[in-house]
């Protein structure tokens, strides 16, 4: 027997649980403006998240999936991507969406039962939130293939959870990304839970990153609560993609600090101790500590940031609540570019039920 190939999977972490760097930081840590912008986005995301849950609890929003615990990796994605790149999200990517240009009002509209919540004005090429698990991976390679066919220097970032990597869509897509050498970065946000199913039951593989190896791609693990580790991984993978060097899989390890959605009760399947331990690794607190330790932050600054974020969210909520629902005929108006004659009678029927048929 002889060894044909040897594979390895790296893992990166720069900050400990308290935000102290045991070793040298990557160059990204020197860009204070970018780091402060990242911190602001994380705080805004978390402020929005708690407000969205409150809206759901008071009957003003539909079922909503909390992004608690994903703020760091989402922010790194949003910062790593160029404006001309295309983001292919799953459904817990609020932090990344905000940096891409999706408005808070649009996010509320989407979860508040209004299709206009995906008609994003500021990032018209990003794909909409994908609910069917892992299906978005196939779209990501399609978008990347389109870029390659047209010789464009652009890349795709595709998000997926740890549960999603059990689906064929993920495996088929990383396989194609390897075979066709596509400019795409898969970010697996391993938050340890697929609703109630723990990571250990998803796969017997020691890591998710190693699935990349089967597709001929590099797979890296990063501490998903460590801003410097995640943003460095994203910058590196996107450089590779833009440089024509192909695809990367990043496994960002974090923890889902909230319920799966507002319709879920995580206390049914996980212990309070588990959750407490996870909170001790919270990435936002970690980055705040680091900013403090390096003289970039103060309690006053924190207070005014919190107030600003709260105000931004309140304004978005007001706008969302003030928006009237679309006329119900909209359910047919966007089905095809032009409504086929066969469907016209159904449209008239819908219109007749609405405000005396005046549509």
């Amino acid at each position: 027997m002889r060894q044909i190939h040897e594979f390895h999977v790296d893992s990166t972490r720069y900050l400990d649980d308290h935000g102290k760097p045991p070793g040298e930081l990557p160059p990204q840590a020197g860009n204070t403006i970018r780091v402060l912008a990242a911190y602001r986005n994380m705080v805004l995301t978390r402020t929005f998240d708690s407000k969205a849950i409150a809206l759901q609890r008071t009957g003003k929003c539909g079922t909503y999936p909390s992004v608690l615990g994903h703020e760091v990796v989402g922010t790194a994605i949003g910062q790593g991507m160029a404006k001309s790149d295309v983001f292919v999200p799953y459904y817990r990517d609020q932090a990344a969406h905000l940096l891409r240009g999706v408005s808070l009002t649009e996010l509320l509209l989407y979860w508040g039962g209004d299709e206009r919540g995906s008609a994003w004005q500021n990032c018209p090429e990003d794909l909409p939130i994908s609910v069917p698990i892992a299906t978005q991976c196939c779209h990501a390679v399609g978008v990347a293939a389109a870029m390659k066919i047209r010789d464009e220097n652009r890349a795709v970032v595709c998000c997926i959870g740890d549960g999603g990597t059990s689906k064929g869509d993920f495996l088929e897509s990383i396989n194609l990304a390897g075979a066709w050498h596509l400019p795409v970065v898969f970010v697996v946000i391993n938050n340890q839970w697929a609703i109630s199913t723990p990571r250990s039951l998803q796969s017997g593989a020691e890591t998710i990153a190693q699935k990349a190896i089967s597709a001929g791609l590099p797979g890296h693990i990063v501490d998903g609560n460590d801003y410097f580790a995640t943003v460095e991984a994203l910058d590196t993978a996107l450089d590779r993609a833009h440089g024509g060097k192909g695809a990367t899989v990043i496994e960002a390890v974090t923890y889902r600090l909230g319920d799966h959605t507002t319709a879920d009760d995580a206390t049914r399947y996980r212990t309070a101790e588990d959750l407490k331990r996870a909170w001790e690794k919270d990435g936002i607190k970690r980055l705040q500590n680091w900013l403090h330790d390096n003289g970039h932050w103060s309690p006053d600054k924190e207070k005014s940031l919190q107030a600003e974020c709260k105000q931004t969210v309140e304004r978005a909520v007001e706008k969302y609540l003030a928006m009237e629902a679309e006329p119900p005929t909209a359910m047919l108006d966007y089905l095809f570019e032009t409504l086929p004659a066969a469907l016209q009678p159904q449209r008239e029927q819908i219109a007749s039920k609405y405000r005396g048929g005046d549509l």
Binding site: V86, V88, E115, R116, S118, A119, W120, P124, E125, L127, P128, S130, P132, T135, C137, C138, H139, A140, V141, G142, V143, A144, A145, A146, M147, K148, I149, G168, D169, E172, S173, N175, L176, A179, W180, A330, M331, Y334, L335, F336, E337, P340, A341, A342, L343
Partner: protein
């Protein structure tokens, strides 16, 4: 690429050759048209529908994919959101089901769920239907599955000319089209077709033969048996109007209702099994819209509600000319 590059010529072609001709024309006309699927590039497709495309347009636009139908569907959707016009081939309709989630949950919904921000101008081609002595999983007709899905068009050509004109229309259409090719008649008929780039309209039936006594409504390969039945019936003095539905969803009810208003009788012929088939929708539409014109119950001649038998018995499953003649005699008697 300009339109002028491909010359206009008239050729005698079979249905599968007309598909090939339309693909060549569409790719020459529009650089956004790309073709992908299993064995479609170097091999030219297992039925040769894509032969010559790789040589004419290169690997970049004519792509052999890994063997994963779900991936083919999803990749085409991703490409389409970026303004490409992918034409993806499923090698047989029996293998399209792996791509169902992508087709139903994404291709059909992209325009609606983004309120027109993104859309899917793509075509999913698949040979379908029985009668070629193929192994199992290669002979089914499940167009009704797709006809049931809002946001999809389901188009079935039944002659070389309609294959050419309808495929061009499908590719140029800004929304997803499931284009099902009746492989039993892939090479059964040769017609003179002008490669002029002219599309035929979607969402409309085609009246193949005018008649007064009964309307025969069909699509796909069954158009052949239905025309033969109409010939036989003509010898008996029964004048049949023959309608090729062509776009089975959305259904051109108006043409069907007009014809039934004239004849007062309808016989629906399709190869797919009966239960929940497109024929049921046709029959219901006639009941709702032409009840007053009917002189006899609407009758269906279809495949049976069972698994498509392996090929030794497939001719007992497929509607035969005699079955159609019998059904017409039954409604004419009333």
């Amino acid at each position: 690429m300009s339109r002028a590059k491909r010359s206009i010529e008239t050729r005698d072609v079979t249905l599968v050759e007309a598909v090939n001709m339309a693909l060549h024309r569409a790719m020459a006309d529009d650089a956004n048209v790309v073709v992908l699927g299993e064995d479609i590039a170097t091999n030219g497709g297992v039925f040769r529908a894509t032969v010559g495309l790789k040589e004419a347009f290169g690997f970049k636009r004519v792509m052999d994919t890994p063997l994963a139908e779900n991936l083919i569907a999803g990749t085409a959707i991703g490409m389409a959101t970026q303004g490409l016009r992918p034409v993806a081939e499923f090698q047989f309709m029996g293998f399209i089901y792996a791509g169902m989630e992508q087709i139903v949950s994404h291709a059909a919904r992209m325009r609606n769920r983004t309120r027109g921000r993104l859309h899917c101008p793509l075509v999913f081609r698949a040979p379908f239907g029985g009668g070629i002595h193929a192994p199992e999983h290669h002979s089914e007709s499940t167009e009704a599955l797709f006809a049931h899905i809002p946001g999809l068009r389901v188009v079935i050509p039944s002659s070389p000319q309609r294959a050419y004109g309808l495929l061009l229309a499908a590719i140029r259409n800004p929304d997803p089209v499931i284009f099902l090719e009746p492989k039993r008649i892939y090479r059964a008929v040769t017609q003179s077709v002008e490669d002029n780039g002219e599309a035929l309209p979607l969402d409309t039936c085609f009246t193949l033969r005018e008649g007064d006594d009964v309307t025969l409504i069909t699509w796909g390969a069954c158009v052949q048996e239905t025309l033969q039945a109409a010939d036989k019936l003509a010898e008996q003095g029964v004048s049949c109007e023959v309608i090729d539905v062509a776009t089975v969803s959305p259904l051109d009810r108006e043409t069907l209702l007009c014809s039934v208003a004239k004849t007062g009788r309808a016989v629906i012929v399709h190869e797919a099994c009966r239960n929940g088939g497109v024929g049921a929708e046709v029959a219901a539409s006639i009941a709702e819209g032409a009840f007053l014109d009917l002189q006899a119950p609407v009758v269906r001649v279809t495949g049976y509600d069972t698994i498509m038998p392996y090929y030794r018995n497939e001719q007992y499953y497929l509607p035969q000319v005699e079955d159609i003649v019998k059904a017409v005699e039954q409604v004419i008697a009333l």
